[in-house]
Amino acid sequence: MKRLLILGGGTAGTMVANRLSRMLDPLEWTITVVDQSQTHYYQPGFLFIPFGIYTKQDVIKPRRNLFAPGVEFIQGTVDVIDAEARRVHLSEPARTLPYDFLVIATGAHVRPDQTPGMMEQEWRRSIHEFYTFEGALALAEQLRRWKGGRLVVNVVDFPIKCPVAPLEFLMLADWFFHEQGIRDRVELIFVTPLSGAFTKPLAAKLLGHLLEEKGIRVVPEFMVERVDPDAKKLIAYDEQEVEYDLLVTVPLNMGDESIARSGLGDALNFVPVDKHTFLSPKHPEIFALGDAAALPTSKAGSAAHFAVECFVENFVRYVDGLEMLHKFDGHANCFIESGFGKALLIDFNYDVEPLPGRYPLPGIGPLTLLEESEANHWGKLMFRWMYWHVLLKGEALPLPAQMSMAGKWTNGQGGRRYEHVAA
């Protein structure tokens, strides 16, 4: 029997297990998933919890029920991966799991402990985050009671999971405080280490006005060194300061500590792999998928989904000594909630920046690329059902894994509408 071991039962790990359980011969293969928790979180839903749009029940399911028959699930914590001996040591319960092939899908975690002052006496009082289940629930309680003031959203450093979520949070906050009747008493500020809220040329051109219209101020090129929790200030390395009444931070994102303990990660514990095949350049039986991988695309469920589509096709060839023919192109698409029942959609890959157009049907949509619409908002809300019932089960979505240029409007094509929007 050959053993495929998958570390992490999140979006990428669950999809890989379920897809391969149908593609690999059960008489020849065992597929085992290890995860430390019994609960699967629908992480994109965390964004909606602070505003009371989703409740806890909307974003959790018992992990066990999500695996196909034939996939073995072990609840445990990875201590270290011994890549030379092809073994994974678990702590709690202490156990050693040998493997023939290993898929690392241990994700990315927020690390407020990495910024001095963040996780001290004001943590979950005047300093919040929405990237964890507990954090999103605590922030929901805070926002219900908040009487207004200066709300600062800040990103400590990139890469982060779902890079558009901080912008979505701000635009939803604008809507939320309007609904609460206190928008005039709330100042919304986005503090980012990048050169602006939008850094890609077309997105900056087409979306730059959005934040201005919503009264969201951007403080660019701000590298947070520490938080002064008593003075309620963010302090940058170059001594710039931003004061807040309520800080919603996106802490530094890092890969799992077990990656560092195993000597398999980069400076942020992400696993360097080939960006087209996810194979480790050092260990020919180790792959890394999803947020755990150090790839120059977004850390997002959609990127993981398209990556898994390529990976499973390659894997069944690779184990038979055949060439990996499918090349992942960095494809991702993300809904961007913009408040008041509307959303944007972006579709991009390693080489093509987000462009305006229609998706998935060229010219028809119904979703609009780089442009606000109600259809996008409904798309985003419907996506939760798709996630639980289609994506995780490894059912095929009628969307190609590779990005398509059909339906996208580039300069000189696509007619007047784009010219009009871009002008």
Partner: protein, 104 residues
């Protein structure tokens, strides 16, 4: 995208004055861009950072500050002293790489 002549070399630059192709870069161009950025002389420490970023660029994009500090052993404070006000962007420009970007 426009072409520009720096120290006698014709290079393609984007709207913000970043080199479009990392291959068109050389050390003389780096010195000239550094002067535009207010850094009169590039010290061995500057070069250490520039070379590390060029070697560790992904898709022609400069690494993030945290990757630079981990890779070079310099602290973030030291990077701010070497490349004042926004070292990530400045290093990228001087090294002929793209600045770190988000997905939109």
């Amino acid at each position: 995208m426009t072409t520009k002549t720096i120290e006698g070399f014709t290079v393609e630059v984007n709207e913000e004055g970043f080199l479009v192709s990392p291959e068109q870069w050389n050390e003389e161009i780096a010195r000239a861009i550094a002067r535009e950025e207010g850094i009169e002389e590039l010290t061995p420490q500057h070069w250490q950072v520039i070379r590390w970023c060029r070697e560790n660029a992904v898709n022609g994009r400069s690494p993030t500050l945290r990757q630079i500090t981990a890779g070079t052993g310099l602290s973030t404070k030291e990077l701010f002293a070497l490349f004042p006000k926004g070292p990530a962007k400045k290093v990228a420009r001087i090294a002929g790489l793209g600045k770190p970007e988000g997905c939109v």
